[in-house]
Amino acid sequence: MEYLVHTVVLVSIYAVQAMSLNLLIGETGLVSVAQAAFAGIGAYAAVVLMTIMGVNFFVASLIGALAAGTVAFIVGIIFLPLRQVYYILGTVGFNVIAWSVFLNWNEVTKGSLGIAGIPRPVVFGYALSENAAFLVLCLVSVACVYGISALITRSSLGRVLHAIREDEDAVAVFGYATTHYKVFIFVVAAFIAGYAGALFASYLSYISPTNYIVPESIFALSIVILGGLGSAHGAIVAAFLLVVLPEVLRFVGFPSELAGHLRLMSYGLILIFFMLYLPKGLFGKFRI
């Protein structure tokens, strides 16, 4: 039972991340390889507030998410106006740099040692130290983010984003400042990813820079590709499949280090396979 709860918590957190990335890739056609970096910014900001200043989780995670959004704003206004390949390369580079900062800014992040003893959220004086209680918070988060993405998709904003995905030049001709829309959705996605990062940090009670390397961003990307572009529920199903997959590898009896490498390798294979044979993913509405 405890194990099942643990799995569902992980699925929920990755689903939140993937839904935020889906707003970018699925709804707006913007591939991003920096979701792990934004999760890391959110996580580190929230963790520093919680462990050093004793700030409540909900305030700290909000500030963490805002920090991720602010950095995304700066990254976005630099890279989003550029041609697509430069922009994607910029996100990859940004993730490498964010990781390098987490690793080397010893005064704040404690470098490769990481930060331990991160407290669980406290609701009305009751700490969510039981995983089952924490699960409720995760499910509420999934529901909220699902709601937010449904809201964005169905609004007039969502229609502009879809139009940018189909033909950005045509949208620009109609007088829309497409870069503003792209920066906006980039910031929203980073905000949600930052919150997911804070949630993850609080759940594990320990973070280190290796949680935020480029392959983790590619992992988020493969969840979205597997689930299908433009499909929030696809992202949830795919998060479930891809979180359970490594558990299966461990059950089969691979040692955990080998299982970790096989996990990353299988994400790579999924990306190649789906790009070759099923670019729409499982529940996708369109192909890039």
Binding site: I88, I218, P279
Partner: protein, 288 residues
């Protein structure tokens, strides 16, 4: 004064490795218009082949180096044939190719980690037998001098190949317009295959040089790639001479910056150089 000479020598060695990567990357990009993110991982494979054959199996060093270069070339050729060519035949967008190349990156990187662990490896030589040259108070090891000279040789050889042979003219024609090149009887698929082999072999040479100079680990591929692409952008993307110039400029800025701050911030400095160029001079020093 001696510090300046030493920085210049370090920049020359680092720059020649970056220049190799940039050279191969520019060759591939100008021929296929495809941002291949798996390119750095192929470089790492070259380094690992030499490490495996020479250090672990005790093969002759020169034979190991030749096999490393050929092995990297063959890997690049196979990736092109099995994945990228199929995608191009389906008129896939550049984002699809890019995502597939991320998948390839992840697969190669985790395969290397499974075979050789995630630890750092350096190709060990008999350090006591190695000569050290002193130039105006700065020092350079024999291996570094060989790396610099080999890089210059490879650059000149590739330049001559592209400029003076029928093959070079055919590649130029494909880069200008693939369809027209087909019409006048150039087998573009075959040519792109050869270009991939050469480009990947050059990457392999750069990976081997890195393995000798500073050592390699599975994740190094991405770092090498970023440096190469940043150098390409600094020099003017698609411009072969500009790319080489960009590589040395990047290495000079990086090494000066690393001396002012500290070596850990090297990657961050390179990324700032990228941002500065994208904002101020997006077409590079020598635009094409």
């Amino acid at each position: 004064m001696e510090v300046i000479i030493q920085i210049a020598l370090n920049a020359l060695v680092a720059g020649s490795i970056y220049a190799l990567i940039t050279l191969g990357f520019n060759l591939l990009y100008s021929t296929t218009r495809f941002f291949d993110l798996s390119y750095g991982a192929i470089a790492a494979v070259g380094g690992y082949i030499v490490y495996c054959l020479y250090n672990l199996l005790g093969l002759n060093l020169y034979a190991a180096i030749v096999l490393g270069i050929l092995g990297a070339g063959a890997l690049g050729f196979s990736c092109e044939k099995l994945i990228y060519r199929q995608l191009r035949a389906r008129k896939a967008s550049s984002a699809v190719l890019l995502i597939a190349s991320l998948g390839v990156l992840l697969v190669i990187q985790s395969a290397l980690a499974i075979l050789f662990t995630s630890q750092f490896h350096i190709i060990t030589r008999d350090l006591s037998a190695e000569r050290v040259f002193t130039i105006f108070g700065g020092t350079i090891t024999e291996v570094q001098a060989i790396i610099f000279l080999s890089a210059i040789t490879i650059m000149l050889a590739l330049g001559a190949l592209l400029k003076f042979t029928r093959f070079g003219k055919a590649v130029q024609a494909i880069a200008d317009d693939e369809e027209v090149a087909n019409v006048v009887g150039i087998n573009s698929e075959k040519m792109i295959g050869i270009v991939y082999f050469i480009g990947a072999a050059i990457a392999g040479a750069a990976g081997i040089a890195t393995a000798f100079d500073t050592g390699i680990m599975p994740t190094l591929g991405l770092a090498i790639l970023l440096k190469g692409v940043i150098a390409a952008i600094v020099g003017g993307i698609g411009n072969v001479v500009g790319g080489v110039l960009g590589a040395f400029v990047l290495a000079a800025i990086e090494n000066t910056g690393a001396w002012f701050f500290s070596a850990e911030w090297r990657d961050v400095i390179a990324f700032l150089v990228l941002i500065a160029f994208l904002l101020l001079r997006p077409r590079g020093i020598l635009p094409k």
